[in-house]
Each structure stands twice: as structure tokens, then as C-alpha cells.
């Protein structure tokens, strides 16, 4: 007793130590964690918005542009807006070169030389605002930046800003462009990261080799399960023979010798003092009455198999399928992990299929019916003979088959006469 108490104490202490260690490790991981770290604010020295001349836009528009640019900096985008009308008409060379010059002269960046910022350059011709040119200039280290990609920037200029510029709404176009940049940072899908060394190495191994292996395993499990189903249904003996009492009939109906069948076998033994019961089992291999449920189970299974009601290889088939499906399940789970590491879709789907088919096979295998086709016919004959609510054998058979209905906590104890001892 003392040893047992000591074991409990050691167990509880070990659990406490492990829990504390795990808690500590998890705490240190989570303490400084910020789910918004994707969009951590950035500090940029350059002005958020430069407009030359300032009167080009209304004060409301200027405020809006400033607000959106600062907000976007708060979501992790180091950037500025530069709008100018200075000699736009008389300037030689393409405007994008001019934009790059502006960026080089006053770089938008989080630290000197970082070259990780973005500039929205807008050149507005004084005499015709509809010829305004908008251009994004990105530093060499700007990308990747969440949802903002070169394609996104191009789309903002061409699809969001251009129509408004054509309508001579320059201020509104800039507000729209800056708003969409912020939206893209938050909500646009981030481009895929390039493959790592591990992923590149795993890829050729996973597909096709592991994919084929997984498909093969899944197929093997399915085929074996179907084969066992067919073989059991067909049975090895054409006509089931021998004794067929209530317990045998119930076992045939359930497809197994379960606890209810064993309890039913044992009950008449207890009542024999008053009245001989016709359900007493005559063991095939034992002469002494058995009380060990496992032994009774084995004896009755053997008897039913010998009579052709159960398939004689049911136990063996169950073990085989359990081993095969268990192996396929483990291999499939490993395949899932490997295919996620290697980002291989075909292997992932093949592994998921292997896991799913193995799980279904395992669950089915543990409760599948061992009754042969001949056994079912024998059961039908027995039912035809006894199917009467007044027939004690039928009532007993029904009670064994539907034993789950009699579980104590099915009912409600709300009424006073409920018997709590039944629930124990």
C-alpha cells in the first residue's frame, strides 16, 4: 500500500514538474508575441506626403492622404507620397526615370541605406491634369511586403487611379491609390515563399515514390477489407449446423460474442436452482463450467465457427486487417507530415486517403459481423420459429441484441420513483 501511495506521489510530482516546465516554455514563447507583428509599425524619416504646390488639393484631401499614409506606415509599409507640378511639361526623358531620381535624392527607408521603402510619385501637368502620371518606385529591399507585390502596385495605378485621373479628380485618385495600398497590405494574399533547401530535397523523393507507396497502401487496405467482407459473407460452410440456442442466435445477429451474450449465458446458470434454462451452453472443448468471460467468449466463438455460423478465420482476419490498417494509418500520418514539410500536394492527398481508408477499415474491423451467409440463413430460420412477443426465447434474444437500450442513465431521474441504484 505504501509503495502504491509513493508511486502516486511520484506521479503527481512528475506531472506538476512537467506542467510547470511546459507552462514556462509556453509562457516565454507567448509573452512577447504579438499577432499583429505581420503589420508592425515602421518608422520612416521622410515626410509622409509632399505636395508641390500645397494648394493643388483641398485641405480635406491633404488630410485624408496624410491619414491613410500614416495609417499604412502603422501597418508596416515604409512609404511616402510625392506630388509635383514642377515643369512637368518641359522635362526631358521618361517620367519613371524622374521618379527614380526623386527616390534616390530623398530615399524612403526605415534606416539609412536600407532601401526598403516605397514612393508614390505623381507628376501633374499644370495645363492638363488629365495627363497626370502616377508611378510607384520601390527600393531594392522593399519586397516581399505581405500583400503588396509589383502586380498589385501596377493594378492600383492602372485600375484604381487611372479612371479618376482621366476624370480630372487627381486628389481623389491619390486617396484611392493610397487606400488600396493599405487594403492590399492587410487583405491581399501574400505571395508564396520560395522553397527551402529541405523542401527542394524532399520534393523528388515524395513525388512520385511516396505518393505511389501511399496509394498502394490505401488500395491494399481497401482490397483486404473488401476481400474479408466477401469471404465472411460467403462463408466456408454451405449450411450452418449444430445447436442454435438463444445465445447463438443473438451472437449471430450481433455478429460477435459480446458482453451481453456472455452475461445472458451466465444468468441462467445462476437461476438454475429454481428452473432449468434451455440456454445453458455446452462447451465444445471444456467439460467444466467456465466463469472467465474471455474463455466463454472463445468457446462460444469456436462453437459458432465449427457450426458454420461464424467464419472460422474471423479472428485471424481481424488481426491481419488490424495490423495492415494500423501500419497504413501510421505510414499515412508520417506521409502527411513529410508531404507538408516538402509541400507536395499529390503525396499529401495520397497520405490523407491512406489515413482515411485505414481509419474506416480499423473502425469497421473492430465491429464487423463475423456471421457467414449460412449463419444469417440459420438466424432467419430461428427468427421465423420464435418471432412472437409472447415467446420467452424471442424476448431474451431481443434483450441481448438491444442490451444498450437498458443502460441505466437512459432515463430521467426527475420523477421520484427513479431508482438511483440502477445507475451504479
Amino acid at each position: 500500500m505504501k509503495t502504491r501511495a509513493l508511486r502516486w506521489l511520484i506521479g503527481v510530482l512528475a506531472a506538476v514538474v512537467v506542467s510547470l516546465a511546459a507552462f514556462q516554455a509556453f509562457g516565454s514563447f507567448t509573452d512577447n508575441h504579438d499577432a499583429w507583428d505581420l503589420f508592425a509599425p515602421v518608422s520612416v524619416e521622410s515626410e509622409p506626403v509632399t505636395i508641390k504646390p500645397a494648394r493643388l488639393f483641398s485641405s480635406g484631401q491633404q488630410t485624408s492622404i496624410n491619414e491613410v499614409v500614416n495609417e499604412t506606415r502603422g501597418f508596416g509599409v515604409p512609404w511616402s507620397v510625392y506630388v509635383t507640378t514642377d515643369e512637368v511639361e518641359n522635362r526631358d526623358g521618361p517620367i519613371d526615370t524622374w521618379a527614380e531620381q526623386v527616390y534616390d535624392e530623398a530615399p524612403v527607408e526605415t534606416a539609412p541605406g536600407a532601401r526598403d521603402g516605397l514612393l508614390l510619385f505623381v507628376a501633374v501637368p499644370v495645363d492638363d491634369h488629365t495627363q497626370t502620371h502616377a508611378e510607384f518606385v520601390a527600393g531594392e529591399q522593399f519586397f516581399p511586403r505581405q500583400g503588396i507585390t509589383p502586380e498589385t502596385l501596377e493594378r492600383i495605378v492602372n485600375e484604381q487611379m487611372a479612371p479618376m485621373i482621366e476624370d480630372n479628380k487627381i486628389g481623389q485618385a491619390i486617396i484611392e491609390g493610397t487606400t488600396w495600398l493599405e487594403w492590399s497590405q492587410l487583405f491581399q494574399s501574400t505571395p508564396n515563399q520560395p522553397h527551402t533547401y529541405l523542401q527542394s530535397g524532399l520534393d523528388p523523393l515524395l513525388h512520385p515514390f511516396l505518393t505511389i507507396a501511399m496509394v498502394g497502401l490505401a488500395g491494399a487496405v481497401a482490397l483486404v477489407a473488401i476481400g474479408i467482407l466477401w469471404e465472411t459473407w460467403r462463408g466456408s460452410i454451405g449450411v450452418a449446423q449444430g445447436e442454435f440456442e438463444v445465445a447463438s442466435a443473438a451472437a449471430a445477429a450481433i455478429g460477435r460474442v459480446n458482453d451481453a451474450v456472455i452475461v445472458a449465458l451466465q444468468l441462467p446458470t445462476a437461476e438454475r436452482v429454481h428452473e432449468p434454462a434451455d440456454t445453458t451452453m455446452t462447451p465444445v472443448t471444456e467439460t467444466r463450467p467456465q466463469s472467465d468471460p474471455r474463455a466463454i467468449r472463445r468457446i462460444l466463438e469456436d462453437q459458432l465457427a465449427a457450426n458454420g455460423v461464424f467464419h472460422p478465420r474471423s479472428v485471424l482476419y481481424t488481426l491481419w486487417l488490424r495490423a495492415l490498417a494500423g501500419f497504413a494509418l501510421a505510414a499515412g500520418l508520417l506521409g502527411i507530415v513529410l508531404s507538408i514539410l516538402g509541400e507536395s500536394e499529390p503525396t499529401l492527398f495520397a497520405s490523407i486517403a491512406a489515413v482515411a481508408i485505414s481509419l474506416v477499415a480499423l473502425i469497421w474491423n473492430e465491429s464487423r459481423s463475423w456471421t457467414t451467409n449460412a449463419g444469417r440463413q440459420r438466424l432467419r430460420d430461428w427468427k421465423a420459429l420464435h418471432a412472437d412477443a409472447q415467446d420467452d426465447a424471442w424476448v431474451q434474444f431481443d434483450a441481448i441484441v438491444h442490451a444498450d437500450h437498458y443502460r441505466a442513465d437512459l432515463g430521467s431521474p426527475l420523477s421520484r420513483s427513479w431508482n438511483p441504484s440502477a445507475g451504479a
Partner: protein
Amino acid sequence: MSGISPQSSQTRWRISSDSNSRMQLAIRPAVVLPILLFILSLALNLSHVETTEFHPDETRWMNRAHYFSDLRDPFGLTWEDQYITRGQPPLGSYLMGLGLVLQGRDTDTNNVWDFSYGTSWNEMNGAMPSEADLEAGRRTNAVVGAVTVVVVFFFVNAIGGLLAAGAAGLLMALHPLQIWLSSQALSDPLFVMLVALALLTAVKLTRQPTRVNAVLLGVLLGLGGATKLSPLLLAFTLAGYGIALLVLAHYGRVDTRKAQSLGPLLMLQPAIAIGTFILSYPYLWPAPLERSWNLFELRAQEMTGQSLSWPGVSVDNPIEALGRVYQRLTWQFSTTGNILETIVGWFRSPVDIWGFDLVFAIIGIVALARLIFVRGLTSGAALAGFLLAGQVGVIVVGMQVDFYRYHLPIVLAVSILFGLSVSLIWHALSDRGAARYWNLVPGVSLEALAPAGNSSPTGRRTETGSTDPIPASDAGRYRSRAGS
């Protein structure tokens, strides 16, 4: 054993007065009631699809409907680490995608709604779903809501009998918040359905502590976590419950055999739930722990942000949260309040009437406590009660902002407790003979509504109770006479 047949544990409404007649028609309420409740709930939900007020959150769930089709490409752009993938777990989005596909639509819907901007900006930029898409999403939830009502019926029937189940299902089906959310394209109805299924499975697990049932419960908690995160925490509390059962069994304080089979299976729940949660969301695969934490952290930060943005609905502590629950489920969303207002409205101008759903719920807590006390900690009522209390507790403790949709799981609890309280009251009245006033039609006995397992269809006690030598056909009236 002889004398008991499986049919004796099932309840019937007897139409014929002659129980021995082969012509008798037996309508089983256990089959008919859930069908009626499903039809009622679905009809109510669908009738509100076109009229329920639009909520911008619906656009987010509609937008992410493409998650469902993007599962074909689990290493694609959709599942990268970004705000949207961190923002919400995926199951509600899968459901929206599935609903759209089943109704002949595609999963390419609307842009993401940006709450920084107004409705007009979002509409202009394609963030408003088309009417057809929105209604398809809402219809999907109408079905989910109706299924939840049926699951509630089955769960309450399993722990409290048919009368309790019928009352619980009816309250849930008629509940204004249930109807409201089941006619919007959000994820809350799915979440509540999964919680209800987990409750039902918990009862099944206590009756049959098998690995399959344990896996099923863990998977449901994992899927619940993949809808609203909080059921993942419940999996850990269930593991604690399992440990507690083993300790109590060691000292002989509970049904030792049952506790020893149930305890280890409950201890497995976190592993199964987390495994399911991770498998269900490709975003988590590259870094399961870190990215799962991203989800929890962002939800917490968003709730804090919402609390600051809307001080009018911010909640400072659990006591205040309970006050909010009272306000919401008494004055704003109450089945009994609605019914009373309708009745009063027939005679005079509309008035706000105090709904007393919560009063019944409190009586229901007493009934549930009695169930647990009588049946023990290894019973289905105990485990499901623990699970339900845990879910409500998580909501009340974690509530930083009082949004109407956060109350739906509490409506689930209130409905279940309402059913139990009705059953308790009914039996209290029945024991005092009040039931005779209800036996109006000769031969039709409301006695049949007594919980299954206590009595035979005829009202006679089975071996677990005292014998009652009355004619089957007179069962209902006999009790009435006895009462008088």
C-alpha cells in the same frame, strides 16, 4: 430477464384504447418530434433570410468561401501567413463555400470588407456580396440552425427524457437570437451545432467508453475549435475531468470501473482536438504551435480593439458580462418574452415584456444538478453538464465586448436547461395529480411523455421500480385517479 422487451424502453403515444389490438397505431414522439422541430426551425429561419438585417461581418465569411475550393491547393497563396488567415479559423468559411457550391454557385464571391471605411466605399470596391450569394450563405445557416435544434432534442432526450427534449427543442427553434443568426451568413450557428453535437457525443461516450466515441468527441471539439477556437480549451478541461475521475476512482468515490475506462479517453481529448484543428487548416501546417497562437492572440487583440472602439458595449469583468447576458436574453432576445408580447399585442398596444427564459434556466440548473448528483460524475449528464458549463464559462469570462452573436452558445445552454426545468416542473405537478387536467381526450394519455427508461409504454414500472398492476389501456387515467 424475461418480460422485458426493447420496446418497453421506448415511449409511444397510444391512439387506440385497446393495447392488445393489432390495429393500434403507435406514433413515436422520439421520431415525430425531431422531424416537426426541424421543419418548424427551418421554416422560421428561411422565412427570415430575406428580411434579417445585413451585418458587415457576413461579407468576411462570404469572402472566405473560396477557402473551401482552395483546399484543393493546400500549399497555395490562400494559406500564407497573413491578416485574413490569422483573423478567423476556417470552418465557417468552408461551410459557406460548401453551401454556395451545393446551391449551384461558385466560391468566387466578394472582396474583403475593410471596416476602416464606410459601406459606400466597400460597396464601390466590390466588398458587398451579391444578393444571390448572400442569400445562399444565409440559407446554408438556416439549415445548420435547424439541425442544431434536432441535435438539442436528441441530447436532452438522452439525459432528461422526451418532455424535456421537446421543450428544449421548441425553445431553441423559436428563440429570436437563434432565428436571427440562422438567417445571417456568419459562423456562429455552425459553432453552436458542433457544441451541441459534442454534448450528444459526450453522453454517448459515457454510455459506451470506446475509442471510436472518444475520437469522435475529440474531432468535434477540434472542429469546434476550427470554427471559434474556444472548444480547444474545453478539450483541456475535459482532460482535467478525466484525471479527476481517475483520482476519485482511486479513492472509491465514483463508479470505479466506468471512471477507469472513461478517464484515459477523456485525457486523450486535447491531443485529438488539436490534431483535428491543425489538420483542418492548411495555414497552420508549416508551424502549428506558432500559427495556432497567432489565431488566439489576434482574436484577443481584436476583442480588446473592439472594446476600445465601441465603449458602449465593452465589458470590464465577468460580473458585468453576466449582467449583459441577462439584458440580452431577457429584454432583447427571449422566446417567452416574444410569446407574451405577441399575446398582449392582440389586446393592446405593443409593450416590452420581461422574458423569463432565464428563470427556467435557473430551475434547469437545479434539475441538472440533481441529475448529476443522482447519476454520479461518470454519467452523461455530468460530463455534458461540465462541457456546457465550460463553454458558457469561457464566453462569460472571455467577453470583453458584448456583441449579440456571442450569446448564441448561451442560448443553447438556456434551451437545454429550459427543457430540464419543464420536465422537473411537469413531474412535480404530475406527482400531485395535476396531470389529470390534461388528459382530456379519452384513451390519449400524456403519461406517455414520461421519460424513457422509468416506465413501460403502458405506465407500468419496470424491474427498476415498483410494480403497478394496472391495465395498460388505463395507465394515464390511473395515475390521475391516484392523484385525486
